[in-house]
C-alpha cells in the first residue's frame, strides 16, 4: 500500500458574505465544503470540475495561501495547520505550486535568473549556494538554455514561460507539485510538450502531482487517480481507469458525456443537464446536485449523501450510484 504524501480531511473554506461593510456575515459562500483527498507518493491525483466548483480555492487552501475554515491538511505526516509561520515556511520547500496563467505568474521585471533564485533566497538556509548551482541544470531539465538566464519573461512564448514556472517550482527540490490548470492557456501543440515534460520530470525526480483542471482529456491522460468536484464537494473519486470506464455519479456521467472527443466515429449517449451550477452561498438542501439530476427523488433533496465505496477504492457520494439503463455507455468504434 503506497503511503500518502498529502492527506486532506474534511477541508472547509467558507467566505463570509456581508450585506455591507458594517453588517455581520449574512451567509457563507461554501467554496470548499468538506473535502477528503489523498495523494499517494509518486502518483498523480487529478482533480476535475467545472468553473465554480471550488477546485482553485481547494488548491490555495491546501497551500495555505488562504487559511482553511476547518478540517486538516496532513503533508508528509505533519499536520500543516498546527505549524507556526517558520515551520510552515520550511514546509513550503517541499510543496510547490504551478499556476494557471504563465503570463502573470512570473514577475515581468525580473530576469529568469532572479526568478529562479528567488525561492532559494526566500528560504534562506545553509544550502543556498548548492541550490543556486543547480539552477542551470534545472533550466536544461525543462528544455531551456543557459543564455535564457539573462532574459525577461516577455521575451518568451507561453509554453516557455510555463517551463520557467515549472523550473522555479523545482528549485527547492519539492516532493509534491500542485498544478492548477497548467496548460489551459496554452495551444494544443505546446500543451503536448508541457505534459510530456511533466511526465518526464515526475518519473526522473520521483514527484507526486495534484493536477487540477477542467479539461477532462488532459486529466484522463495524466492521472493515476481522479476526484470529481461539484459545488465544493468531491462527488466521486478513485482509480482513473475505473472511473473513466464506468462513472458512477450522475454528474460524472453527464460530464464525461459532454466532452468533445476528436474522433467523428465516437459514439456515446449524451446526458443533458438542466439548470445551472448552484449558488454556493445558498446551496440546495440535501444533495447539492439534486435539482439537476435525472435520477433525483425525495431522499436526494433531504439527505446529503456520504462518500460510499462502490468498487475497489472507488467512492461515490450518491444515493443511487452506478449503472442504470439510462446511464452512459461508452462505445468506441474506432481509434484515430
Amino acid at each position: 500500500m503506497p503511503d500518502a504524501i498529502l492527506e486532506v480531511t474534511n477541508l472547509k473554506k467558507y467566505f463570509p458574505v456581508k450585506r455591507s461593510f458594517f453588517s455581520r456575515a449574512v451567509s457563507y459562500l461554501r467554496a470548499v465544503d468538506g473535502v477528503d483527498l489523498t495523494v499517494d507518493k509518486g502518483e498523480t491525483l487529478g482533480v476535475v470540475g467545472e468553473s465554480g466548483c471550488g477546485k482553485t480555492t481547494l488548491a490555495r487552501t491546501i497551500m495555505r495561501l488562504v487559511e482553511p475554515t476547518g478540517g486538516d491538511i496532513c503533508f508528509e505526516g505533519r499536520n500543516l495547520l498546527k505549524l507556526d509561520d517558520d515551520e510552515m515556511k520550511r514546509v513550503r520547500r517541499n510543496m510547490q505550486m504551478v499556476f494557471q496563467d504563465p503570463f502573470s505568474s512570473l514577475d515581468p521585471r525580473m530576469k529568469v535568473r532572479d526568478l529562479l533564485y528567488e525561492p532559494i533566497i526566500a528560504q534562506g538556509g545553509d544550502d543556498k549556494e548548492a541550490l543556486k548551482e543547480r539552477v542551470p541544470t534545472l533550466l536544461g531539465t525543462v528544455g531551456l538554455e543557459q543564455w535564457h538566464l539573462d532574459s525577461f519573461p516577455h521575451e518568451f512564448s507561453g509554453g516557455q514561460k510555463q517551463r520557467i514556472a515549472i523550473a522555479r517550482a523545482l528549485t527547492l527540490n519539492p516532493s509534491l507539485l500542485i498544478l492548477d490548470e497548467p496548460t489551459s492557456f496554452l495551444d494544443v501543440s505546446v500543451q503536448a510538450q508541457i505534459l510530456n515534460l511533466l511526465q518526464k520530470i515526475q518519473s526522473d525526480l520521483k514527484l507526486s502531482y495534484m493536477f487540477i483542471s477542467h479539461n477532462l482529456r488532459v486529466v484522463a491522460h495524466m492521472s493515476d487517480k481522479v476526484a470529481i468536484m461539484y459545488a465544493g464537494n468531491i462527488v466521486e473519486k478513485g482509480w482513473a481507469e475505473d472511473i473513466f470506464k464506468a462513472p458512477s455519479h450522475p454528474y460524472t456521467q453527464a460530464l464525461f458525456s459532454a466532452v468533445p472527443i476528436p474522433n467523428p466515429n465516437y459514439r456515446r449517449t449524451r446526458i443533458t443537464l438542466r439548470g445551472e451550477v448552484p449558488n454556493l452561498a445558498n446551496p440546495p438542501p440535501g444533495c447539492k446536485f439534486n435539482p439537476r439530476c435525472l435520477k433525483a427523488d425525495k431522499t436526494c433533496s433531504q439527505t446529503v449523501p456520504m462518500l460510499t465505496e462502490v468498487g475497489t477504492e472507488h467512492l461515490v457520494a450518491c444515493h443511487y450510484p452506478g449503472w442504470s439503463p439510462n446511464s452512459v455507455s461508452f462505445k468506441m468504434l474506432s481509434h484515430s
Binding site: 467545472e50 494544443v188 501543440s189 503536448a192 510530456n196 482529456r217 468533445p260 474522433n263 443533458t272
Partner: protein, 325 residues
C-alpha cells in the same frame, strides 16, 4: 454560398507588416457547418473579421482577394452595403459574451433592438418575438430573463442570448468565433447542440472557428486547418480524421491527449511538433511549416506549396503530399 479566394489581410505595425492571412481559399455550401481550425495566431479569427469587414484600419487592411457571398464580391461593396449585410445576412457570435453584450441594457432590450432592426417590426411585436426567441434558445423563464442585465446571467445563458440576437434576423451565414471556449464543458456542449439545431431549422450555414479538434469532430461537416496565415488542409471531417495528410494536421492529431476517448491508453508520451509558431512578420521561406516538419526536404525551403486536391474533396497544401516535389 460563401466562397473566399486568395484572401490576404495584413496588419501594418511599427514592428513591421504582419501577414496574418496570406492567401486563403475556402467554400461553404448551403446548410453546411464548416470548421476553421488552428492554434493561436494562425489567422482564423482574422479570416472571420475580414468577411464582415470588421478589420480596423489602422493597422489592419484587406490587401487582396475576393469574398463571394450570394454571387457578389463583398470586398467590392461599399462600407454601407456591408454594414447592412452584417447582422442581417451574415451574423457573428464571439468568444466572450461578457464583452459582446451591452452591460447597461437588459437582455430583452438588446434582443428586441436586433429584431426591430432586422425584421422591421414595432416595439410591441418585437417584445413578444423576443420571448419567443428566448424560448427557442432554451432559456427557462424567458419573461424574467428578458428583464435581467448581462452581468446577472451565467456565461452559458449570455451565450444563448448572443445566439438569440445573432439568429433573430434569419441570417444565411453564422460565423461563430470560439463560441464555447470560455464556457464549461457541459454548457459548451449544449450551446453547440443548440447552434446545430437552430441553424438546421432556418437552413443557414455556419463557419465555426475553434482550436479544439474535438468540437470539429462533433459538430462540423467540413473542416479546414490553418497554420501561420495559410490553409494547409481542407476536407470533410471524416476524411480529415481518418486520413490526415499534411504533417501539421498529423502532428496536431497525434499530440492530443485522450483522443480515442477518456478511458484510452494513458500516460504514453504524446507526439510533439518540435519548435514553435513562426513570426508572421518574417515567416519562413517556402513552406511556412518546413522548420518544424519531420518530412521536410530541401525543396520545401524554397518552393511554396499550393492547395491541391489529392482525393475527392480533400485538399492539401504540401509539396511532399501533392507530388509537387
Amino acid at each position: 454560398m460563401l466562397k473566399i479566394e486568395g484572401l490576404k489581410t495584413y496588419f501594418y505595425t511599427y514592428k513591421g507588416v504582419i501577414k496574418a492571412v496570406d492567401g486563403v481559399d475556402l467554400e461553404i455550401g448551403k446548410g453546411e457547418i464548416f470548421g476553421l481550425v488552428g492554434e493561436s495566431g494562425c489567422g482564423k479569427s482574422t479570416v472571420a473579421l475580414s468577411i464582415v469587414r470588421l478589420v480596423s484600419w489602422p493597422p489592419g487592411k484587406i490587401v487582396d482577394g475576393r469574398i463571394i457571398f450570394e454571387g457578389e464580391d463583398l470586398l467590392r461593396k461599399t462600407d454601407e452595403e456591408v454594414r447592412r449585410i452584417r447582422g442581417s445576412k451574415i451574423s457573428m457570435i464571439f468568444q466572450e459574451p461578457t464583452t459582446s453584450l451591452n452591460p447597461v441594457l437588459t437582455i430583452g432590450d438588446q434582443i428586441a433592438e436586433a429584431i426591430m432592426l432586422h425584421q422591421n417590426t414595432d416595439r410591441e411585436t418585437a417584445k413578444w418575438r423576443t420571448l419567443e426567441t428566448l424560448n427557442k434558445v432554451r432559456i427557462a423563464d424567458p419573461k424574467r430573463v428578458s428583464k435581467e442585465y448581462p452581468h446577472e446571467l451565467s456565461g452559458g445563458m449570455m451565450q444563448r442570448a448572443m445566439i438569440a440576437i445573432a439568429l433573430s434576423c434569419n441570417p444565411r451565414l453564422l460565423i461563430a468565433d470560439e463560441p464555447t471556449t470560455s464556457l464549461d464543458v457541459t454548457i459548451g456542449f449544449e450551446i453547440l447542440q443548440l447552434i446545430k439545431e437552430l441553424v438546421n431549422s432556418i437552413g443557414a450555414s455556419v463557419m465555426l472557428i475553434t482550436h479544439d479538434l474535438g468540437i470539429v469532430a462533433e459538430a462540423c461537416d467540413k473542416v479546414a486547418v490553418m497554420y501561420a496565415g495559410h490553409m494547409v488542409e481542407k476536407s470533410d471531417v471524416k476524411r480529415l480524421f481518418e486520413n490526415p495528410r499534411h504533417p501539421y494536421t498529423q502532428g496536431l492529431l497525434a499530440s492530443l491527449p485522450s483522443k480515442s476517448g477518456l478511458a484510452g491508453e494513458k500516460k504514453r508520451l504524446l507526439h510533439v511538433i518540435k519548435g514553435s509558431v513562426p513570426d508572421l512578420i518574417n515567416p519562413p521561406q517556402g513552406c511556412r511549416f518546413h522548420p518544424r516538419c519531420e518530412s521536410a526536404k530541401e525543396l520545401c525551403k524554397k518552393n511554396k506549396p499550393h492547395l491541391l486536391e489529392i482525393e475527392q474533396g480533400h485538399y492539401v497544401s504540401c509539396l511532399m503530399c501533392n507530388g509537387e516535389g
